[in-house]
Symmetry: C2
Subunit: 155 residues, 2 copies
Amino acid sequence: MSKTYSISELASEFDLTTRSIRFYEDQELLHPTRRGQTRVYSSKDRVRLKLTIRGKRLGFSLAEIRELFELWDETRSGSKKQLYLMLSKIGERRAALDQQMKDITMVQLELESAEIRCRQALEELLEKEPQEKQDEEERAGSTDKASAASSATMH
Amino acid sequence: MSKTYSISELASEFDLTTRSIRFYEDQELLHPTRRGQTRVYSSKDRVRLKLTIRGKRLGFSLAEIRELFELWDETRSGSKKQLYLMLSKIGERRAALDQQMKDITMVQLELESAEIRCRQALEELLEKEPQEKQDEEERAGSTDKASAASSATMH
DNA sequence: AAACAAGTTTACGTTAACGTAAAGCTATAG
DNA sequence: CTATAGCTTTACGTTAACGTAAACTTGTTT
């Protein structure tokens, strides 16, 4: 018997509400068993939850994610026609992801140039008005969440 | 005077409904001028529309896209505080896109292995039942849209 | 003049993905 | 024993991003 999880374990691990997890079950993305009336999640369920979250971040709808899960499950038992259908579905998805890769690259470039423009505007401001009360180094690594996020890409 | 566009020109070029385009204006993503009561779109509007579509494909909400547009516009005139805010917002976005890149890579890998599994299952089926009525080559390049999409990733 | 095309505003309807109570079961701690 | 914590179902509410329909203006073609 491999490991199992409660709904709140999964919720806190992936930072979801239990409501969402139950909703995903309702949409047939997860299939927990029951002990009494309580849901028991397998490690397969956990993997699916992780994949679901990834899919969502990529803009997939829950229905699309479910479709992919079903395709995967039926790969073993599919008929010839089924298998051809799966291949084409998979191809569609892969093509869409290729497109997304390109999109991301484009937007990254634009954000990069926006950042550069921003830094230049800042430099100009700081040249005209160089009086600083605080330690100037503190600008580079400040304390709030926002700069923490931005620091992920600064270098 | 650079080129202008009508709403239906843009709609057909980007395969949107005019409803959507007007909605985007309502959300302040576009700012067409008017000739009489009719909307006239500049090439800047056209660029923004293209960016909007890209953003949507990446799962950005219209509000987020609008925010990015505003940041870009205010880069020239921003105060110091504004500029720091922009930099952190841009950083957030770039980090999110980095994450998406990773997500895509993971999902691509999974789709790839699903495709392989699929092809193997097919081979096994075709070995057991090798009687074909049609030309066997036709399987490789069939006619429907789905396989056209999949062919985009087949090498 | 009549009708057609392309545009407009106004406003109600729809779907996805949950949020948010409300009300009830069940085991364990005090 | 009760009360607290964690789970459950049921069900109505909410937001985003449009769809869809109705009723109107404006210009152009027949």
